[in-house]
Symmetry: D2
Subunit: 141 residues, 4 copies
């Protein structure tokens, strides 16, 4: 599990005094991007190779409201990987007491930017993600 | 089913040339607010009565990418209602050909703003939502 | 002056119970896009021709806070036009009483997407904007 | 001058492959909040005392486009302070080469949340901001 830390922005709050629920999906994305970066996979490189990676499914269960200025931990796990898709699971925690604010999941599909068809990513990229996943989950895969 | 129409904003796009997936949850919210408004239930009134209505679950499946300037239809159904929660289902369609862009679901819980505890909304408000739901779904409830 | 109408979204509010100030720049953009559309100029066409049109200056003075669910009028004027830049002026008003919520201004520069250099837009596009501006401002230019 | 570092989020980009201009005002806000925090002034405390601090003027000049994943520096200076208002100036720089992406300015007015009237903040809070400003600008005030 990879963990990044961030702080709730004022603009992320709404008139119920808490973070608007749509922002969690942006936090998930920050975690996902960092996960891939640490695996040595850069979204820009994928895009330059003609791939895009649209989200095909996203969900979040909210346990407790994040508030302005809270320090949060975004915890990310790659739970399913193939050459055509990635599924990530997330937990957002309050940094102060590790209480869980939300849990979620997203699925990306790799597609060709040219025609939108599903595409298999190059082996080199797949292997980087797989190796990092193995390392990161502490398993033997 | 209630339907509202809107148009994709430039700011809602991302560098993959499509609408960022987090925006669909904001569109769902616009549909939900309109549904309640047409039922005669105003969020402001609920807040003035000391209730808030946090989202406890949100999910979306993406079928096809919305693009800048697309006219979209946001279709909303109240699929579960009690005095402590509401579940809405959504479809987002392209206005030009009614193709489905995304389908989703959200659950709100009614809580007291004072202490965050789950709260039963007043009968008058519940009855308005129920009556509109019955009318809107064309059923006899 | 061109006027469009919209309604404040819940997500646009912040914990001060009003619309977050950054959203006004998104409203300005909606007005600007509509202005160009009515002039027969589509951003997509410009992009397909290899132009982009970054904002180089943006400003807003806030007079009164917009609130959730307010119906607003976004009023747009093209106040300066050349083949390399456009300056628009905006007023955002409350639809209910026409009181002014904010006034602002933006400047776009036309540039080539390939190298970012300043570029002169094609005469046909410039003439459409100019003609609509003349028509819209009721003047003789 | 106070400097904070952040990284451009994917969601902050638009279909022109750069950061949407409205996001810079959110970055300014992050810098402003951090400035006040380091001065020992917490927005939450001000709000609990019955003050709000709406932005009354905001402007930004854009020099160069920030892109996805760029590390950025948000540089903040308090350039005018009284018991009823604060004016901050900002520079956003690319962390890699210190080139300037944008420069801007915002003005906040202190008002009473109860009736929106302009209000003078308590001396203790004013003095904290003033002391930090003096320290931070290296001057003798």
């Amino acid at each position: 599990m990879l963990v990044i830390k961030d702080r709730v922005r004022f603009v992320e709050t709404d008139m119920m005094n808490v973070v608007h629920h749509s922002n969690y999906f942006q936090w998930f994305e920050m975690g996902r991007v960092e996960y891939m970066r640490q695996a040595g996979v850069y979204l820009i490189d994928l895009m330059n190779l003609g791939y895009v990676f649209p989200i095909t499914d996203a969900r979040c269960s909210y346990k407790k409201s994040a508030k302005f200025d809270d320090e949060i931990l975004i915890c990310v796990d790659l739970i399913e990987l193939s050459r055509v898709k990635m599924v990530y699971a997330y937990k957002v925690k309050l940094a102060s007491d590790y209480s869980i604010l939300a849990e979620g999941l997203t699925q990306n599909l790799f597609t060709k930017v040219a025609d939108g068809s599903v595409a298999r990513i190059p082996t080199a990229i797949y292997e980087k993600l797989k190796a990092f996943h193995t390392l990161n989950s502490g398993g033997t895969d």
